[in-house]
Amino acid sequence: MKRRKFILLASVGAVAIAIPVVMRRRHHHSLAAPLGQPDFLGHICDEATVREIGDAYCARNPDEREEDKLVSLLIATSDGDGHRAKNPAKSAIDSTRVLRQLDGAIRDDYAAGRVVTLKGWVLSVTEARQCALYSLSHQ
């Protein structure tokens, strides 16, 4: 009885932990594509340039060289002030809204001087991360 109860509770616990993780990962993966599309840069430069910029960002910031990490950072950025939202999965359900918020975050980056110069491009940190995400997800 005790063994059966233990297995049941362990299974429930594992599922309880796994579901949000899996859901979050699935959600991250679903967002990776739109988040990794720097909208403005997409209008003014080609794919190879976006990847070059992304590679340069990863080389300069090796601790961010992971898709999940970049997605989290971009979602957090979209929620304002660069702080992680209390419930990122919930707040990032609407990818359109996230992208719109990212556009605002990019402008805020420029205004506040949160810029990096990569391959000569003077870019907001947020759109540089978008380039990095694009580069990683297209390797």
Partner: protein, 511 residues
């Protein structure tokens, strides 16, 4: 009145009230102010009324340090002076340019921009410019297509440039000078030495020579040197018979602080749409005004940078542009600066098409002041020219501040375009690395010789005072860009003429 000094009897004595040495924009602007007055004006021009290779060769000289244009071809030695190959770009200096800036050693004029403003207005008709209006809104009210790329912001503003035809001073003022009753123009009258009285408190006489082997003497109550920043310094340094370091050079300042603007391609501006950028683009012979992107005084102070601007040209047009340092390489000024018929035609066609269709990619060109640097200087060479005067030697030296400033300007521009959501800036390769102190081989100046007899109230820090009088010599004055303390971001000719008019007024008041 016009006299060819070669035709005078040897050892002629020429006397007048005011003697102006040099008939370029500075000298002629002053001379014309004195036309039809009771004062006898002696106007000395080393060359003739037209280009003369033998005379031009007197400007030949060596240069060391940062690569520079051949000295012989970077300024002109005949009536009208360097206006003979002037491009016609005009703008005023900014208020900040006159102020002492803690982050720029040796900055700060003894005059303010407000002191020059009335003379800028008077200089406009001399240079055949439009109204003396440097507020973009004045022009935007006249033409609604002159739209600003950026909304109002604290970092970047639109600085207005106006374009002269350009005025060729020799052509414009030649006949008036010849017809004048009180201006006595002497051509082929090269001043080779200034002699002072004893104990060197005033100019006593000038020695002039020419290739006819003749030597004459000029005496005047007041003498104005208006030969350009290289020759003004050269003449003072070479007048060393009484003062071993040269006249006006007790504090070893004559020839120092030589400056030019750095003018070069620096970055790309990418827009998400095609735009003719009518407010910013320039077509030779057609554009009367345009704006360049300038950095606010607050941002210059915050980032401790020099004053510089960025002008725009479509990438198509810029791609056929050869950097001046690569194209202006001949000693013969007549062989430089001519792109050739087909290339010129191509550039004009591209310009025409881009103006009508617009473009989304633009080259950003920098024009930035050089930091005043005592080690960037004109000295005398050990080699003499055929008239027996030591040749000028230039050591052009830049500092790390120029490079850091240039890079910072484009980062600031990049931030503003990004914040406005209207474009992105991409630095050229040579500006990518903030720690790289080198310059690319196309780094060069704008043929703007500036700063060799700088202005200061204190003789220990300047050659001339606020009225352009040489310290320690009661009747010797200097006109032109050699008096500038800093160069700002504007081409110097408008300020040269304004400063010359101010000097002229000052001398008139003295009587």
């Amino acid at each position: 009145m016009y006299i060819d000094a070669r035709t005078l009897a040897d050892h002629t004595l020429i006397e007048g009230d005011v003697c102006i040495v040099g008939a370029g924009p500075a000298g002629l602007s002053i001379a014309m102010e004195w036309n039809n007055t009771s004062h006898k004006v002696i106007l000395l021009e080393g060359g003739g009324m037209d280009y003369d290779e033998q005379v031009q060769d007197l400007y030949d000289g060596r240069s060391t340090g940062q690569a520079y244009f051949p000295l012989k071809s970077s300024h002109l030695h005949y009536f009208g002076g360097t206006s003979g190959h002037w491009g016609g770009f005009c703008s005023t200096l900014d208020e900040l340019d006159f102020e002492r800036r803690d982050w720029i050693p040796h900055s700060g004029w003894p005059i303010r921009k407000a002191d020059l403003d009335p003379f800028y207005a008077r200089a406009h008709p001399i240079l055949d410019l439009g109204p003396c209006e440097y507020d973009p809104s004045y022009w935007q009210k006249k033409d609604a297509d002159l739209k600003s790329l950026l909304p109002d912001n604290p970092a970047v503003w639109n600085k207005v440039w106006q374009f002269s035809a350009p005025t060729r001073f020799g052509k414009k003022y030649g006949q008036a000078v010849k017809d004048s009753k009180n201006i006595h123009l002497y051509t082929y009258a090269n001043v080779t030495e200034i002699r002072a009285n004893e104990p060197i408190s005033a100019v006593d006489r000038l020695t002039i020579k020419n290739f006819a082997g003749k030597q004459h003497t000029v005496k005047a109550k007041r003498v104005i040197l208006a030969c350009g920043a290289i020759s003004n310094a050269r003449l003072l340094l070479a007048s060393n018979r009484q003062a071993t370091k040269g006249l006006g050079n007790d504090n070893d300042l004559v020839g120092r602080f030589f400056m030019d603007h750095l003018e070069m391609k620096s970055a790309y501006l990418h827009l998400p749409f095609r735009d003719p950028l009518k407010l910013y683009l320039f077509t030779t012979g057609r554009t009367k005004m345009r704006c360049e992107l300038a950095i606010s005084r607050e941002m210059q102070a915050r980032h401790a940078i020099l004053n510089g601007v960025s002008s725009l040209k479509t990438v198509h047009e810029a791609n056929i542009d050869v950097p001046a340092m690569k194209s202006w390489t001949s000693d013969d000024p007549q062989k430089n600066g001519h792109p050739g018929f087909w290339k010129d035609h191509l550039a004009r066609t591209i310009s025409f098409v881009d103006r009508h269709l617009g473009s989304s990619q633009f080259m950003m060109y920098t024009r930035i002041e050089q930091a005043p640097n005592p080690d960037s200087r004109i000295t005398l060479d050990t080699v003499n020219d055929p008239l027996g005067m030591p040749r000028a030697m230039l050591h052009w030296e830049l500092t790390p501040l120029e490079r850091r400033s240039m890079r910072t300007i484009y980062e600031l521009l990049g931030r503003q375009f990004g914040a406005a959501g209207c474009g992105r800036v991409q630095l050229m390769d040579y500006l990518e690395d903030p720690d790289d102190a080198s310059w690319p081989d196309f780094a060069g100046g704008g043929w703007h010789h500036i700063g060799t007899t700088r202005m200061s109230d204190d003789p220990r820090s300047g050659v001339v005072d606020a009225n352009c009088k040489v310290h320690g010599l009661s009747n010797l004055y200097v006109a032109g860009s050699s008096c500038f303390v800093t160069c700002g971001s504007a081409n110097p000719t408008l300020t040269v003429v304004a400063l010359s008019l101010r000097l002229s007024d000052h001398l008139k008041k003295l009587g």
